[in-house]
């Protein structure tokens, strides 16, 4: 893995939320949208109306940013049907922060 913008700073929730918000805006901008509010309680399904095919794009953006320190595929693969339906931005932020801390510790 060769992330284009390696992060060396300490993983903190605010920074990760800002990263993920930017990724989601990139994703939504492909559809010509730029005025979407995204916070930790925003849901992928109901609020952003993201489809499973959009998650593939998001996986690519996460990999560009964090390299192999964050395994989005594994995150999704572990989720129950209900959890996927209820998935929020906050839950993803939590997972990313947790993964980055684990990578720092390791």
């Amino acid at each position: 893995m060769n992330p284009t913008r390696p992060t060396t700073e300490h993983a903190d929730e605010e920074a990760v939320l800002a990263d993920i918000r930017a990724m989601l805006l990139t994703l939504l901008e492909e559809y010509g949208e730029d005025d979407v509010e995204i916070g930790t309680t925003t849901t992928f399904n109901r609020d952003l109306e993201l489809e499973s095919i959009d998650l593939v794009t998001l996986a690519g953006l996460l990999e560009q940013r964090y390299g192999d320190r964050v395994n989005f595929a594994e995150f999704l693969a572990g989720m129950e049907f209900e959890e996927i339906i209820e998935l929020t931005v906050g839950r993803l932020v939590e997972y990313v922060v947790h993964s980055l801390k684990a990578a720092e510790a390791g």
């Binding site: 939504l28 559809y31 010509g32 949208e33 979407v36 992928f44 399904n45 109901r46 109306e49 993201l50 489809e51 499973s52 095919i53 998650l55 593939v56 996986a59 595929a73 999704l76 693969a77 572990g78 989720m79 129950e80 049907f81 996927i84 339906i85």
Partner: protein, 389 residues
């Protein structure tokens, strides 16, 4: 000569493709019949003399219009597809016992057809009227696939052969997909028994009168439709489409299908025509672009005529079909719930001005028209009945 029983849900888009196939089989001297919870609907589409065995269905399932994505999928399975299979099973079984077909042709979403055939030891084919199941969008979410698999296993225990193991969505004998790999894309499921026959487009009884003289030969024409099953959610979207067309009235005319009557009509409007139904196939011969919800039938009918599309998927298979259109280069995707008239207009301008999308749509048109359609489907089914598959 052989007998074929088509097990279909009471849904126009699932019955229509079987009508052409059944007609080809009958023309070769085979016997054809349907099992469906709505025999009247089959007779309306296939002709008053069609042999239809009634079965029970599920009534009054209203999906909240706001449901999307995986939530809509779960609702569809729990509240419609699985109960439909339970309800249809006794009628399908009775139809098989009375009609004695050689092959059951089971719609991909009418699980009862497949499971009953398996239980009775009959060869069965899958009729896949949408191609979305052929790309594994939930591939990366194994627990979703496991959940769906568990529902099918329970269902098999109730209405099928508990010792059987076939996935009722994919017959191990024969799968007829009414699309082609040129549209489904490089990740399409393949196999010796999977046949992409292209759309089965049959002439339909003419719908309401259409004011053909209204169409202005000096302007581009766009057809806006959300299909037959989405009247609940379309008001905002259709209104944005009207605005986008009006802003281009010097060069574009729009025909909007509005079955729910959500738009206000103006009298004597030379730019926008709003109708509850339209004769879609003849109209597609005359339009330059289609704006739609990416329903499989509308998309295939547009591409059958080489017309590029703006696709605004709402739910179910529509996001997958929309992605197929975009990946094939035959259209642009916008977001149904959020798109503005400005963005719709830009997408429309791109389709009308840039020949690339029209060229890609024409490529799919060629693929569709050489795939064999209903005739090829009938040949594969006859082969299965004759034990060649």
């Amino acid at each position: 000569m052989s007998g074929f029983l088509f097990a279909v849900p009471p849904l126009v888009g699932h019955i229509n493709p079987t009508v052409g196939v059944a007609a080809r089989l009958a023309a070769r001297g085979h016997r054809v019949a349907w099992a469906c919870p709505d025999p009247g609907l089959v007779r309306r589409l296939a002709g008053a003399r069609a042999v239809v065995y009634p079965c029970a269905g599920v009534a009054g399932v209203e999906r909240p219009p706001g449901l999307r994505g995986p939530e809509a999928l779960k609702f569809l399975w729990e509240r419609y597809l699985v109960p439909l299979a339970d309800a249809m099973a006794p009628g399908v079984r009775a139809a098989v016992e009375e009609y004695r077909p050689d092959v059951v042709v089971a719609d991909q979403q009418a699980f009862a057809g497949a499971l009953v055939a398996e239980r009775l030891g009959l060869p069965w084919a899958t009729s896949a009227t949408t191609s979305a199941e052929f790309t594994d969008v939930y591939d990366g979410m194994p627990k979703v696939a496991a959940w769906l698999g568990a529902r099918l296993d329970e269902l098999r225990g109730r209405i099928g052969d508990p010792a059987g193991g076939a996935d009722p969505r994919f017959s191990p004998h024969l799968v007829l997909a009414f699309s082609t790999p040129e549209l489904v894309g490089p990740t399409a499921r393949t196999g010796e028994h999977i046949h992409y026959v292209g759309p089965s487009i049959a002439d339909r009884p003419a719908a309401a009168d259409f004011p053909w003289a209204w169409l202005d030969p000096g302007r581009s024409k766009v057809l806006v439709t959300l299909g037959t099953a989405n009247a609940d959610a379309g008001g905002r979207f259709l209104a944005e489409c009207v605005t986008a067309v009006r802003e281009r009235a010097d060069r574009v005319q729009g025909v909007l299908v509005d079955p729910g009557g959500t738009l206000a009509e103006r009298g004597d409007d030379k730019d926008v025509l709003i109708l509850p139904t339209v004769p879609q196939l003849p109209l597609l011969e005359r339009v330059d672009a289609v704006i739609c919800h990416a329903g499989h039938n509308t998309v295939c009918e547009a591409l059958w005529h080489g017309v590029p599309l703006v696709v605004a998927p709402i739910r179910d298979d529509q996001p997958v079909v929309a992605a197929q259109v975009v990946d094939a280069g035959a259209g642009l995707r916008v977001r149904f719930g959020r798109v503005t008239s400005a963005r719709l207009g830009e997408a429309l301008d791109t389709l009308l001005n840039d020949p690339a999308h029209r060229t890609a749509a024409a490529r799919i048109r060629t693929a569709f028209r050489t795939a064999g359609g209903a005739t090829a489907a009938a040949s594969h089914l006859a082969g299965l009945a004759a034990g060649e598959a």
